[in-house]
């Protein structure tokens, strides 16, 4: 892209996201400055959306000149003024960069405002903040993912509404819990719920009536990450099988149920044993 700037036409290249300027400095200008110093509005003739245009500068000359000198570099000078000063940038009433963001800009200007220097050239810069991005969920993809088990899920959800649920609206993993059913949740009920074995991720069966009969069901749940069996009829033998063969990496048991041998086995398989 070419635009009129300074005394002629210049060609603009987008910032390289791998450089310190592109990754750290340009986003700060974008966030606080470009609304008034950009393509739509270029107050004082200054545009801050391209490195080349910063270099050319506006009515007061290059914005990158005398980098490192807080009195002579225009960006540093204006950023450093107190908020009630009429020359302060961003002006009173606009969101101002944080101390860390100003530090990033100053470090870069002091280093001569290079366009292509990598981030590794600025080891003393405050660490970059990675903002949380919540991805948009495509419900049709989720529905497709859930399709193989959706009929069984509907039936079981109707029969045991408090015991079975999807872990989230964005996937097909399933959580089962005996929190409401208590001792009504026995081996027979678990066998019914195990129709969803392929996608059960979490099985909180603490204080239910399950016995060692349930172990073979639990071991056959390939996606299981967490099992709770405290306060059930599961014996030490049952627990040993569970620790050796289940895919779960966290198992909640009753205090004292796990023998030294079981604890050793758990440790060697990377299973965390919790006790209640």
């Amino acid at each position: 892209m070419s635009v009129a700037a300074g005394n002629g036409w210049v060609t603009l290249a987008p910032a390289d996201r791998a450089s310190f300027y592109g990754a750290r400095v340009a986003p700060i200008f974008e966030k606080y400055c470009v609304a008034c110093h950009g393509a739509k509005k270029a107050k004082d003739g200054l545009r801050m959306d391209y490195h080349r245009l910063l270099e050319i500068g506006g009515e007061e000359g290059s914005a990158l000149a005398a980098g490192g000198d807080p009195q002579r570099n225009i960006i540093q000078y204006r950023l450093g003024l107190s908020q009630n000063n009429i020359l302060a940038m961003p002006p009173l009433g606009y969101r101002r960069p944080t101390a860390k963001e100003i530090a990033v800009v100053e470090l870069w200007l002091a280093a001569g405002a290079p366009v292509g220097a990598p981030e590794s050239d600025f080891p003393s810069a405050p660490a970059a903040i990675v903002e949380v991005q919540i991805p948009a969920v495509d419900q049709s993809l989720v529905a497709a993912l859930r399709l193989p088990q959706s009929d069984q899920y509907t039936i079981l959800k109707k029969r045991y509404p408090s015991a079975v649920s999807y872990a989230s609206d964005s996937g097909n993993s399933i959580v089962i819990t005996g929190a409401s059913l208590g001792e009504q949740l026995n081996d027979i009920v678990l066998a019914e719920l195990a129709q969803l074995a392929a996608v059960i991720e979490w099985a909180d069966l603490n204080y239910t009536a399950i016995t060692d009969q349930a172990i073979s069901l639990l071991v056959a749940m390939p996606a299981l990450e967490h099992i709770g069996i405290a306060g059930t009829n599961i014996t030490q033998q049952g627990l040993a099988v569970l620790v050796t063969h289940s895919s779960a990496k966290a198992i909640v048991t009753e205090a004292g149920l796990a023998s030294t041998a079981i604890k050793y086995m758990a440790k060697s398989r990377g299973v965390v044993l919790y006790e209640r």
Partner: protein, 495 residues
């Protein structure tokens, strides 16, 4: 019922009828036009608005995306403990102890009590660093300090309210005015109740008084009242009048409830009032609770060792006992447990509010219980998916408060809304980490300010919700816990 009463009822019914008929008829077209446009906009933005089937107010619903936290234990120290004497260590303030406060500190500030030119006051207790993270703790919380590496501090909280009641409402409902749902209500509304035999949202108080913000702090605002926090007592019957009266068997109670439900259902079909569903749900919940509630509140089932660790005496109310009950509740699937500990308002106006006197007892009262709670949750595998939050409504000033300029032996600080400290531990947050900082005097936020809306959005995020989507249309606005703010999820504290 007199004839006048009957007439009044008939009149009310007629008024409801005509209003409803009017609304159904005329609003359909308007609603279609309005929702048509907003739904298109929402779909374009890729967001999915929350909706809950009205006939199952307490059913478990999955969160929007996989959650790091399934449950929350929220410890609110009502009155505002001094962060400068517990966590936010300020050696420079110690050096200036006794000096006049610079005028720049006072200009344009509102204080609850400070007048004239107060003196700066350094930390009142020695500080030390703990854990491999080197987090600072004063000597008032030695047991909690042993858990330094589990704790994620936010030292740059700020609020815009400087009196207790509105500040508590802002901290717990997202608004400083009456009428808004509390955090626990929003979460119960979003996620429902995991254990259908217990309330999803339980509140317990310890200390001599009740919070200034009142029951509003666990109220449901404009959400159906089924989502309000259930205040439970830690001594005697947890919920009053839960048990059947003498000579009423469970079977009779069931028959009574069935009949009541029929009447309520027919009333709901006629008037479509959400509160009728709430009533049905609550009668049913209390019936189911009869068995489970007395059991979960019975801490004599715990070992002597556990009770001692929490400092929980079965015979008396205490914060320690509430912490132990909180653990028993989350273990059984209660979603949100809110504890209030009272009397932290250290103005130094008397012995009870003096930092050198009663403050010691208050610290002693929470130190071992919270430490025990953190160890216990960890051993039981609950800290993986339970978020523990410790906080208050604001902080305290680096200036000494002197009651009307009189010299007293009591020592205190005034309210400081500009900076305070909260911490979280457990599900999804970085242990042994401190986010944000205050200036050298501990007066204002110096780095990474965190607003209450940021804080709320982050808690909802940990529970699997985009704060923006958990909304209810009320009074012409999409209402949210985070209001109309554009909060930032505090990405730095996420594990």
């Amino acid at each position: 019922m007199t004839k006048a009463d009957l007439d009044q009822l008939k009149l009310e019914r007629l008024m409801l009828n005509s209003r409803r008929t009017f609304l159904t008829g005329s609003s359909a077209a308007l609603a279609a036009a309005f929702f048509g446009s907003t739904e298109v906009a929402a779909a374009a933005a890729g967001s999915k608005k929350f909706s809950r089937p009205t006939d199952q107010p307490l059913a478990t619903l999955p969160p929007q995306f996989p959650a790091r936290a399934k449950r929350v234990i929220y410890l609110h120290m009502a009155g505002a403990p001094s962060q400068l004497d517990l966590f936010d260590y300020k050696p420079e303030l110690a050096k200036r102890d006794g000096q006049d406060t610079p005028l720049s500190f006072l200009e344009g500030k509102n204080f609850a009590f400070l007048t004239g030119i107060p003196k700066l006051m350094g930390p009142q207790y020695p500080f030390k660093q703990y854990g491999s993270s080197g987090a600072w703790f004063s000597d008032r919380l030695p047991h909690l300090a042993e858990h330094a590496d589990k704790i994620c501090f936010i030292k740059s909280m700020h609020t815009d309210q400087f009196n207790h009641a509105p500040a508590q409402m802002l901290a717990l409902t997202g608004q400083s005015r009456f009428g808004y749902p509390s955090m626990g209500s929003w979460i119960s509304y979003g996620l429902g109740t995991e254990n259908q035999n217990l309330p999803g949202y339980v509140v317990m108080l310890s200390g001599a008084s009740a919070p200034r913000g009142g029951k509003q702090l666990w109220g449901s605002g404009f959400l159906p009242s089924v989502y309000q926090g259930v205040q439970c007592r830690s001594q005697g019957e947890p919920v009053l009048f839960l048990d059947n009266p003498d000579n009423v068997s469970s079977a009779i109670r069931r028959q009574v409830l069935d009949t009541l439900n029929e009447i309520n259902q027919s009333s709901y079909r006629e008037f479509m009032d959400q509160e009728t569903l709430t009533r049905i749900a609550q009668y049913e919940m209390s019936f189911r609770m009869q068995a489970e509630a007395s059991d979960v509140f019975d801490i004599s089932q715990e070992s002597e060792k556990t009770r001692v660790a929490y400092g929980a005496d079965p015979q008396s109310e205490s914060f320690g006992k509430n912490c132990l009950i909180a653990r028993r509740l989350v273990e059984r699937g209660v979603r949100f447990v809110q504890l209030f500990d009272m009397d932290w308002d250290s103005h130094g106006q008397d012995e009870a509010s003096s930092l050198k006197h009663n403050f010691k007892n208050l610290c002693h009262g929470i130190d071992r219980p919270i430490a025990a709670l953190l160890s216990d949750l960890e051993e039981r595998g609950l800290l993986e998916d339970t978020l523990v939050v410790w906080g208050s409504e604001f902080g305290r000033t680096p200036m000494k408060e002197e009651a009307n300029g009189q010299k007293t032996p009591w020592i205190g600080r005034d309210h400081n809304p500009s900076a305070f400290t909260v911490w979280m531990a457990g599900a999804g947050v970085k242990g042994g980490y401190t986010h944000g900082s205050t200036d050298e005097m501990g007066y204002e936020v110096a780095d990474d300010p965190v607003s209450l809306a940021d804080f709320h959005a982050t808690i909802l995020y940990l529970l699997g919700y985009n704060h923006h989507d958990l909304s209810v249309h009320f009074q012409g606005l999409d209402q949210r816990l985070t209001g109309v703010h554009h909060p930032r999820i505090i990405s730095q504290i996420l594990a």
